[in-house]
């Protein structure tokens, strides 16, 4: 361990997520990743979709590897699709539900990580209420462990963004001619932040956000989006409509007058969806508040691709996990070669 310090200092400054060959070794954020790398994730995920259609939906890539799901925040779909993805890669999976584990007994995060490492874990999948927690973990773990961000605070949810990108590419072919609108609570949404970064990086010419002022971050335009407060104007000529979950606790913090008011102005009904292009697809990261941000009629309509998103979530997570493990192993092999 002590010999690794000067090596780190000697290596050129590089993004924490990439190894010395520019390959993925952690997946923490869309930020800083090239269009080529994001496209490679989507292409690899395409191959895993085919695996999911077989009678035996399993490949031996991560056989003998141990993946630990570290969920400091409750999640059903994300955790179960990560678990299924790891199992379809033949990894062994340990699910740590931290609210019921020893951190509630006062064990520090680092102590717990050291214990997980001592169990010869190869990958941590981290969901945390605090922004930056997965980065912190990636910086703190032993160098052979890959870290995947499964959602941190208001910061990022990169696998959600990539499964959305895969879904868009399946339905629209490419990103070059698309107008995409994201509706709802942009301010608190790690999903929206990652979606915007991914859409921009993949070359989407027009990304719009549609929300009331109280649910928009300051200087949101700097993310490369057009801002609309009016749903009708915002949906005009749109190819992809991305709705976001409205978190009920926001209502209590007085950012919104009421659910009913939000629904009246920004809730996606069949009638309002007609303002977009006739072949527009409708997306939602789940879980849905039916009748708040989206109507059942829309969520269950042929234009809705919400269940495709879930299926694609498994394939994207398989892609990211195998690519990060691969990049991590390449880095380890290279660092052993330089060692005297």
């Amino acid at each position: 361990m002590s010999s690794s310090a000067p090596e780190h200092a000697a290596s050129a400054p590089q993004c924490l997520q990439l190894n010395r060959f520019g390959q993925l070794r952690h997946f923490l954020s869309i930020e800083g990743l090239s269009r080529e790398l994001l496209t490679e994730i989507l292409d690899t995920a395409d191959s895993f979709i085919e695996v999911g259609a077989r009678s035996i939906k399993k490949v031996p890539l991560l056989r003998g590897k141990t993946v630990v799901n570290l969920f400091f925040e409750p999640s059903t779909r994300t955790r179960s699709t990560f678990e299924l993805a790891a199992k379809r890669l033949s990894a062994d999976v340990l699910n740590m539900d931290i609210r019921t584990s020893s951190t509630s007994k006062g064990e520090s995060l680092l102590d717990m990580l050291r214990n997980m490492e001592a169990m010869a874990s190869d990958m941590f999948v981290v969901r945390h209420a605090q922004s930056g927690a997965p980065h912190f973990i990636a910086q703190s773990v032993t160098p052979n462990v890959a870290v995947i961000n499964a959602g941190d605070g208001r910061h990022a949810h990169p696998t959600q963004a990539m499964l959305d990108m895969l879904t868009i590419r399946q339905h629209k072919g490419s990103f070059e001619n698309l107008t995409v609108a994201i509706i709802g609570d942009i301010l608190h949404s790690r999903v929206a932040r990652s979606q915007i970064q991914a859409l921009r990086a993949l070359g989407t010419p027009e990304v719009r956000v549609i929300a009331p002022n109280t649910l928009l971050p300051a200087e949101v335009e700097r993310l490369g989006v057009k801002v609309y407060r009016d749903l009708k104007q915002g949906l005009k000529d749109v190819d992809v409509v991305m709705t976001l979950r409205l978190q009920k606790e926001r209502m209590e913090s007085a950012l919104l007058p009421s659910e009913a008011e939000f629904y009246r102005l920004y809730g996606l009904s069949a009638e309002k969806l007609r303002w977009a292009k006739p072949d527009a697809i409708v997306m939602h990261p789940g879980p849905i508040n039916r009748g708040v941000e989206i109507d059942s009629e829309v969520a269950d309509s042929p234009q809705s691709v919400i269940l495709n998103q879930v299926t694609n979530g498994i394939a994207v997570r398989m892609a990211v996990m195998s690519m990060a493990m691969s990049g991590q192993m390449a880095e380890m092999a290279a660092s052993q070669e330089v060692r005297p």
């Binding site: 191959s47 085919e50 695996v51 490949v59 031996p60 192993m329 092999a333």
Partner: protein, 174 residues
């Protein structure tokens, strides 16, 4: 970069030999599967030559390689495509160059994840020996003895040709 041998002539002979193996084993309605990329090019030719009923299958073995822990994931992996049920079917598996036998092992592992085939016939354009596993092709276009610093590569998909060339240390990436 010398072009060695006329590939189509070899394939014509291979098609006849495949028919002979089928007759000997009493196989009448096989399906054809090529291993990406070279094996698929060859399988396309053989598919026409054998006049098979069903579309060609394509196998990408990247997820089944036994050297993932050493060389990592192939960044250009594409979906495998088997447009037929493999359960209880006779499969003709086609690859361009057979060497260690590891690619064929990976391909057979992948095939079995689609179902249990009745049998597999292995056809390879070139056998360079140097086997590391007990795997032998049933039909071989040409056996070639390579010098230690040589390698053989199929070029295509149009105008298929075999190249015998010197190994280049710089071509092997991380």
């Amino acid at each position: 970069m010398t072009s060695l041998i006329n590939v189509e002539t070899l394939l014509d002979t291979m098609a006849e030999e495949i028919k002979a193996v089928m007759a000997q084993r009493g196989i009448s309605d096989p399906v054809l599967v090529g291993i990406r990329t070279g094996g698929v090019w060859l399988a396309e030719y053989l598919h026409k030559k054998l006049g098979l009923r069903e579309a060609l299958g394509e196998l990408d073995i990247s997820f089944y390689r036994d050297d993932f822990t050493r060389i990592g994931l192939n960044p250009t992996v594409r979906p495998s495509r088997l447009p037929f049920e493999t359960e209880d079917r006779h499969i003709i598996l086609v690859d361009d160059v057979v060497m260690s036998g590891r690619t064929i092992r990976a391909a057979m592992n992948e095939l079995f994840d689609y179902g249990r085939p009745a049998s597999i016939i292995l056809a390879a354009l070139v056998d360079v020996g140097a086997r590391e596993l007990p795997i032998q092709p049933d039909v071989v276009g040409r056996r070639i003895q390579l010098e230690p610093d040589q390698q053989v590569k199929l070029r295509g998909p149009d105008d298929l040709r075999l190249e015998l060339r010197q190994k280049n240390a710089t071509t092997s990436g991380p």
